[in-house]
């Protein structure tokens, strides 16, 4: 157990230094920055404006979650149960929105619904999370024994009745878990709300950003961050409980049900799913169309600095910055994530509570907003003797924290699904502990590792919340450049922003398509 504890310590130390401490600093700042400790928190919490803010944050998140669940369920059904031509393509198409950079999606919906308002915010948030629902629910659905349904039908239940009384309870843990994750993403969504809401429609997340960057109200921002962290932790705990139920459920049903051609009323579901897919492509297509509205001017201009030198660096330099930061972040996140997944898979086998806690701690960065994190870095790292705030490592560190949970969630289910007796069989054949790990665990999780690295890379590439805080003006990443360009006047700036979005999107789609080819297991969650 002791070498295991040592391995587990590394991610925990990193998490403590680059996550817990910055977030705690925010809390400290909120409590102590004024003459009367805690007064800022009280002021903010009792402000009627805050109540409105919280109401809007939760309201839009709830609405987007409902839409995501309703639109994601038909897709989950098709992915899990239907044997149709082009299903592989569908698998890719569904997951693309989830990894598209928030800035890109924000811009896409701005093109689609120029009038603005609440609707584009809700729809854009839902757009992201349909993939979460479809993949998470589809994963469990594919492993749910079809015979339960058939027994209900034989007992006289209609197709719908069998679904409601047999299938729905079986996949409910996955639906709850997906809804919890989606709600969390929607409630802490930053890029989309900032792009579409501007100063008018604000959530906690964008308000924290605006107070910090534009109003310099640090205590107020800190108080709001505290409020957000508390909410997120509560939602995460609920999510952890449902996820636990889901994983035990998965354990009971190893065998994947064979997909078959839809029959009768199932074609209606397939039709609805197709409509959802078409709806998913609309923002993407309109974005591409907008980027080409002035020919290739925007693309050509990417080599330069924009209208009246809006940018300190050229668009191409920004691409290079993005690639470098995302690569560093991916390497770091793979190291942390794989180590954590190994430790977690061992701990969960011995069924220790500490495993649950560790698991939850690793998921925290997924829920705590990237803006809070970025803001926390600025506050906390300033107090170190060596000022890290100007370090080029800061952006990869923050991005790594954002994507490590993704890596863990992709690799862990595969490691947990490895039958202990496979390791024992390898042991009796003469393989030592390390050799068993290399031959069996690594051999079986190899494809999941590639997938995790790919997804991590794509998400890091598009990360906006933390990066916008931490990237130095002379070394912005592509999403930061897009946000800068769109915020400044000038036709060329706009064209450049849209062109950059399309470039980012193409990279994302290519990466996702490559990963899907590699994906072995359907047990992963995202």
């Amino acid at each position: 157990m002791s070498p295991l504890a040592l391995v587990g310590l590394l991610p925990l130390v990193f998490l403590g230094l680059f996550f817990a401490w910055p977030v705690a600093s925010i809390v400290g700042l909120g409590l102590t920055s004024t003459s009367r400790p805690g007064s800022a928190v009280l002021d903010v919490l009792t402000d009627s404006e805050t109540l409105r803010l919280v109401g809007f944050t939760l309201g839009q998140a709830a609405a987007a979650t409902v839409i995501a669940v309703l639109a994601g369920m038909p897709l989950a059904f098709v992915l899990a149960r239907c044997k149709l031509p082009g299903i592989g393509l569908l698998r890719v198409a569904v997951v693309v929105p989830f990894v598209l950079p928030t800035v890109v999606v924000g811009l896409a919906f701005r093109v689609l619904m120029p009038a603005g308002g609440v609707a584009p915010i809700v729809l854009a948030n839902a757009f992201f999370n349909i993939a979460v629902v479809a993949r998470t629910v589809g994963g469990l659905w594919a492993h749910t024994d079809r015979r339960g349904e058939e027994a209900a039908r034989a007992l006289g239940a209609s197709r719908w009745r069998a679904f409601v009384s047999v299938v729905l309870p079986a996949i409910a843990p996955a639906i709850l878990s997906a809804a919890a994750v989606a709600f969390l993403f929607c409630a802490t969504s930053f890029g989309v709300v900032l792009m579409l809401g501007g100063g008018q429609y604000r959530t906690l997340e964008t308000e924290i950003y605006l107070r910090t960057v534009e109003l310099f109200d640090l205590p107020g921002a800190a108080a709001l961050s505290m409020l957000q962290v508390t909410t997120v932790v509560a939602v995460l705990i609920i999510g952890a409980v449902t996820r636990r139920r889901k994983e035990t459920a998965l354990g009971m049903r190893r065998h994947r049900e064979i997909a078959r051609r839809p029959v009768g009323g199932e074609w209606v579901v397939v039709g609805v799913a197709s409509a959802v897919v078409v709806a998913l492509t609309v923002p993407v297509v309109s974005l591409v169309a907008r980027s080409l509205s002035n020919g290739f001017a925007g693309y050509v201009a990417l080599a330069g600095h924009g209208d009246q030198a809006t940018l300190q660096v050229s668009g191409l330099d920004a691409v290079w910055n993005s690639v470098r930061a995302a690569s560093d972040a991916t390497v770091l996140a793979m190291l942390l994530g794989v180590l954590s997944a190994v430790v977690l898979s061992q701990l969960s086998r011995s069924g220790a509570l500490i495993g649950e806690v560790f698991d939850l701690a690793l998921m925290l960065p997924l829920g705590v907003s990237a803006v809070t994190l970025g803001f926390g870095y600025l506050v906390a790292l300033g107090s170190l003797p060596l000022d890290l705030r100007a370090s080029p490592l800061l952006v990869p560190f923050a991005q790594a924290l954002v994507i490590t949970p993704l890596v863990v969630r992709t690799v862990l289910p595969v490691l947990r699904a490895v039958d202990e007796r496979l390791r024992q069989a390898a042991g009796t054949l003469g393989a030592g502990r390390l050799r068993v790990w290399r031959e069996i665990d690594l051999g079986l999780a190899g494809r999941a590792l590639v997938a995790a690295a790919g997804f991590g890379y794509v998400v890091a590439l598009g990360e906006f919340g933390a990066t916008s805080f931490l990237a130095r003006p002379d070394a912005p990443t592509l999403p930061v450049v897009i946000a800068t360009l769109i915020a400044r006047p000038g036709e060329l700036n706009n064209d450049m922003a849209y062109a950059a979005c399309v470039v980012l999107m193409l990279v994302t789609v290519a990466a996702v398509a490559a990963i899907e080819g590699f994906r072995a297991s359907s047990v992963g969650e995202f």
Binding site: R421, L422, A425, A426, G427, T428, G430, R435, I440, L444
Partner: protein, 348 residues
């Protein structure tokens, strides 16, 4: 003796899964651990493999205690009930795994793989994916994989019980021949007596963590050590009897028992112990009749017996419910229950 277990106990928490087991397996011998599910036989096997740590006692090989020797250094092969083939590797790579671990050169590795696949009847399967194989084929590959590095001892954990009946019977015969042919020393865990008797030179009957009896199959079958072993081996009716010069007399009739000491004994009756016989000394009323492949099975009420007893009759002219019949004991279906006094065996 190659493998010797001395007072071996294995605990799960506070519960004893295996208690004070003494057992030995000679070089080239096949011993079966036979017992109902949950009796601790698989745990015992895992302790021998080094996968469970004994609470007390010792697992010894050629008089060396294996306590400090970890799983991968014991040189024991293990076959699981469901094969546990490596799904990410081909048949060939699965069989070659142990050879790779012990550093066998590539050329001799592939020769050994070919040889073993021929041995288990899967020649030409080298490049196949293990996930495409049937259950029986998977189990054959698992066997080849375990045998490839020439293990000192082969451990088989319910190797056939995941297969359907026809396949199981076929593979049991093949496996028995293969073990003899290769001279493999083996310990087999099973809950199926047919399987145990087909495979093993000696059978150890286990119950609630203890070994109740060890002996050659025919001896265990004819002279179970106690009524629980007898019950597990198919005896459904027990009846006290008195032996007098080779003849046992009981309330259910008389039966010849060779080499038995005179005195009080307990007879264990299997389903085929009582036969329809017009000259039989016992009468009873048929309650129910069931047809089997080659005989009819009767449930009979006999005065003085606490429960219904089983009897068999030819299919043609089998009596039906309500008929009164006469029955006689058949020595082939009668076991002598009890500790072994001297050399005894039943019937002829």
């Amino acid at each position: 003796m190659a493998l010797v277990l001395r007072k071996l106990s294995v605990h799960y928490g506070s519960e004893a899964a295996v208690s004070d087991v003494d057992l030995s397996v000679a070089d080239g011998e096949v011993v079966a651990l036979l017992g109902p599910s949950g009796c601790g036989k698989s745990t015992l096997l895992r302790a021998v493999a080094g996968l469970e740590r004994p609470a007390s006692g010792a697992v010894c090989w050629d008089d060396t205690d294996l306590a400090g020797v970890s799983v991968h250094r014991r040189g024991f092969g293990l076959v699981f009930q469901d094969g546990q083939l490596f799904p990410h590797r081909t048949v060939e790579a699965n069989v070659a795994f142990g050879l790779r671990m012990n550093g066998t050169a590539r050329a001799s590795r592939s020769r050994r793989v070919d040889q073993l696949l021929r041995l288990v009847g899967l020649a030409g399967y080298q490049k196949r994916s293990v996930t495409e194989l049937s259950g029986g084929e998977q189990q054959r590959v698992a066997l080849a994989r375990a045998l490839a590095p020439r293990p000192r001892l082969l451990l088989l954990d319910e190797p056939l019980s995941a297969l359907d009946r026809t396949m199981r019977e076929q593979l049991a015969v093949d496996l028995a021949a293969l073990l003899r042919e290769t001279g493999t020393t083996a310990l087999v865990v099973t809950h199926d007596h047919d399987e145990a008797f087909t495979l093993a030179d000696r059978v150890a009957v286990m119950r609630t963590g203890r070994v109740h009896q060890v002996g050659p199959p025919d001896e265990v079958w004819r002279r179970p050590a106690d009524d629980q072993v007898a019950g597990f081996l198919g005896c459904t009716t027990f009846v006290p009897a008195t032996v007098d010069s080779g003849m046992a007399s009981s309330a259910l009739g008389d039966v010849a028992i060779a080499d038995a000491v005179d005195g009080e004994v307990l007879l264990g009756l299997r389903a085929n112990a009582l036969r329809l016989d017009p000259n039989g000394s016992v009468t009873g009323e048929v309650v129910q009749r069931l047809h089997r492949r080659d005989h009819a099975r009767l449930l009979v009420r006999i005065d003085g017996q606490p429960a219904l007893v089983e009897a068999i009759s030819p299919v043609a002219g089998a009596p039906g419910p309500g008929d009164w019949i006469r029955l006689a004991l058949d020595p082939n279906g009668v076991a002598l229950v009890g500790p072994r006094g001297d050399r005894l065996s039943t019937g002829t």
